[in-house]
Subunit: 513 residues, 2 copies
């Protein structure tokens, strides 16, 4: 620690590293805190990793890792051959906010609120701090939990009912003697047979008239959303997202350089008026059939208004129909894509909620004029999808298994919904009434405050029950009063009624005591 | 150690494993010494990995790794459905001795040029501003042709030899009774079992020491390259690419906002000095084992210089080892990733050139500090890859099919190479001499001018023969005189020798007339 510090552009003397906590992690934290509190000013040239390593008596790798992390999170910037600098964290919104968001995190600049997260009492960190994706991942991403299905898990259908024996036979049949023509490089948009079957399915099940050529096969809904972001969003554009909403979609837009505008959701769905306030939007991401996570259906009036907005402003609408197969009563409204007359809607669908999520098979229906551009974009991103899964799904549909399975899944989801609704503990302090559940695989119950929500989650966790808090689904900066953001998001399809009842018993005991 | 040993084909009683020295390493050494001293005679059938693991009270992975290493080194051999045998060590000098050195030591100092890049003459490169990827796509993408394999097609291995019956059985076995834990949302970086097997494979086959956690499963090499571009390139950065080179990689960088700098390739590969001229580069994309498309191998001196450049400039090197499994003579050089001491190399591998392209299964090995960032990036792009294909490939590797198949493919490619080299029409006007072909699945023959190249292509097409012109593989703006860019890029593995000979007959007639 004694040598060379004089030649460094800042004084590392106060940096105390503890091998037990991780040298590199400790250095990263020490540097980050110095950047955040200004001891390391914007524009300061960082010492070469070799010099800092020597000054701190640690390995060079330790320094390189800390620098890499800071770089990835946007705290450092640099150019090849020109050293590494402390990034300019304020006042250079353009380049830096792009950089901050590159692949890592949400660089939120919503048009809605100028409050910092600290003002809301909801997030203790500073705005720039949310650039550190770790923080975001831990506190703001709706948890996508792995492991076997459990009661109340969101986004998981009744895949215990999937006909795996049939699936195995179809795979074996395909691979025993595949057409060599299918084994080289294929169409980036996907297997033509599967695309044509999907087009037919959408016509009959959604009233959505599209040609097979408008369909791109994707690695689940997430790739479809991410492609839209990459192709239709320019850095600096504003993208409107439902708030609360599907946060992984927001990430895709921010990755493409977008600023997010959180738009409130009421009992008719996304509130159109908010869309027109403030910064004009280039795109709206919406879940009309069954809003994620509240479960609200976008009303017809709102649908028409949204389409009118898109036509008038030449904006894009990304319609994510992630669980549109599940409808228990009432006639479904036509998807936006079926009502769209000016080619502004991109429709996202997935097989993950009918089969199982790890299938990673989805699709995107794009307006005629965009087919070629999307196809090229996808070719550069990953060329195309694996052929076997596409062909097996095509056979599964063509042989009628798919439609049978949808009916089976709908019946099962209905029974599982009823098991949850019928046995939900009444009179839990601070928990609001159950909603009507006419669609989807989950619903949301309001809770009086975020503090109470967190209490309920913690005591559920203590008895081994997994629950999701609605507060996780909000953008960090929201105009909505913090306690209006509380709730429980309850998936009901992942496990059979018996397992739901058992989990409810544990919840009841944990919450009543 | 007490159970089951009676049923094993040899007595493992004397094998003492020490966890501190590495169980797998210890088992490898014990088996190797028994093979070398004859206790395990040539032709002995080895026990199934499961049985030996049980007998030795070690994990199955330990045995699989030891077998893999022995297999890669030629001590074990096997055929599909017929188990693993101790190899016949006499009479197979050629392949085995090559194999023995594969990736195990860095003893490649003999006979190599000690020239530094500065000594080698090179043509100065131009920085190319290619914002318009559209233009690139339409006019300059090397054709990735679909349809059944045909003579001379580039990038297509001998997949007629793939063991589809085995593949079909593995799929059926997986899907008949899948672990529900695998069917929900999984790790964006990929299935842990497959990642661990790939790490073991890279250690034994490439001398590349990496942890399973550093490996990301990708949708083929293209997604791996595209992820690097998205995460490590900022808009305006300059990325150096080989010129001529793999144009789809260049597209991925341009998509991320990069300017491309075409760097010439000479007989030692990418010319390092050109890298340092003009605009500094943030990243270099390189195909060291078998330059795409020229087939040149990057010399050791150039490898070291390139690594030194990356360390000095904190630049990134994307090493695309797309067909590294195919090496016909000479010891392979260590990959850049194995020589990298400062964590600047990202290594791209693919199963598409050993199995078949439509498999779309590849991997990326990233430096420790980048694992989390890449994993997050991938989660936002598409969440993760379909589980079945990953698990089936893991089983394919663990059961030894993969290693056997590599050897089969290498033999087949060699035979197909010889069919083409031995029957290529001599004395075609304007066509240069055949090169030495020591690696890969294609080679390049120079042609006197682009006009002549186009003539040759057109007359080939007129008789139904598909050929690729080298001129397609250049960046649109290159300093290289246009006629130096002409040539024929000839894939030799896609079809059996008979089909190659038939195509050559047609070519001969078309070109002589």
């Amino acid at each position: 620690m004694t040598t060379n510090t004089a030649s460094l552009p800042f004084d590392p003397a106060g940096i105390q590293l503890d091998a037990k906590l991780g040298l590199s992690r400790g250095l990263y934290q020490a540097l980050r805190s110095r950047i955040l509190d200004g001891r390391l000013a914007s524009g300061t040239r960082m010492p070469a990793s070799r010099d800092l390593a020597q000054a701190l008596a640690v390995s060079r790798n330790t320094v390189v890792r800390a620098y890499d992390q800071l770089y990835a999170e946007g705290f450092l910037a640099g150019r090849v051959g020109d050293g590494t600098y402390v990034a300019l964290l304020e006042g250079v919104p353009e380049k830096l906010s792009t950089k901050l968001s590159t692949g890592l995190s949400l660089g939120f600049s919503t048009g809605l609120s100028t409050k910092t997260p600290a003002d809301t009492g909801f997030v203790s960190s500073k705005v720039i701090h949310t650039a550190a994706s770790k923080c975001l991942d831990e506190h703001h991403l709706p948890p996508f939990r792995s492991g076997p299905p459990r009661a109340f898990r969101v986004g998981v259908p009744a895949f215990d009912l999937f006909p795996f024996a049939t699936w195995a036979k179809l795979y074996a049949a395909f691979w025993r003697n595949p057409d060599p023509e299918l084994l080289g490089y294929g169409d980036p948009a996907g297997d033509p047979e599967l695309r044509s079957l999907i087009a037919a399915y959408l016509r009959s099940s959604r009233g959505l008239n599209c040609r097979a050529e408008q369909i791109l096969i994707t690695t689940g809904a997430q790739e479809a959303i991410s492609l839209c972001a990459q192709l239709l969003v320019d850095p600096g554009d504003t993208v409107a997202v439902e708030n609360p909403g599907y946060r992984a979609a927001g990430h895709a837009f921010v990755n493409a350089g977008a600023k997010l505008k959180g738009v409130p959701v009421d009992e008719e769905g996304l509130t159109g008026a908010a869309l027109e306030e403030g910064e004009p939007c280039r795109m709206v991401y919406v879940t009309p059939a069954h809003q994620y996570p509240t479960g609200v259906t976008l009303s017809l009036a709102r649908r028409l208004a949204l389409l009118e907005w898109a036509e008038r402003n030449r904006g894009w609408i990304i319609e994510d129909d992630y669980d549109g197969e599940y409808r228990y009563s009432g006639a479904p409204l036509a998807p936006l894509a079926a009502l769209d007359r000016s080619g502004r809607v991109l429709y996202v669908g997935t097989f993950g909620k009918v089969a199982f999520p790890a299938l990673r098979l989805g699709y995107l229906v794009v307006p005629e004029g965009l087919v070629e551009a999307f196809s090229r974009k996808r070719a550069v991103a990953l060329r195309h999808s694996e052929i076997g899964t596409q062909r097996v799904m095509a056979r599964f549909i063509a042989d009628g298994h798919f439609q049978r399975h949808i009916r089976r899944m709908r019946r099962a989801a209905l029974a599982r919904r009823d098991a949850l609704l019928g046995n939900w503990p009444a009179d839990i302090r601070g928990v609001g009434p159950l909603p009507q559940v006419n669609a989807g695989l989950h619903f949301t119950v309001p809770v009086e405050s975020v503090a109470r929500e967190q209490q309920l989650l913690a005591s559920a966790e203590a008895v081994g029950v997994e629950l999701n808090g609605l507060s996780h689904y909000w953008l960090p900066e929201s105009a909505e009063p913090v306690d209006n953001r509380a709730g429980l998001v309850l998936g009901f399809a992942a496990v059979a009624p018996a397992a739901t009842l058992a989990a409810l018993d544990r919840l009841r005991q944990a919450w009543k005591s």
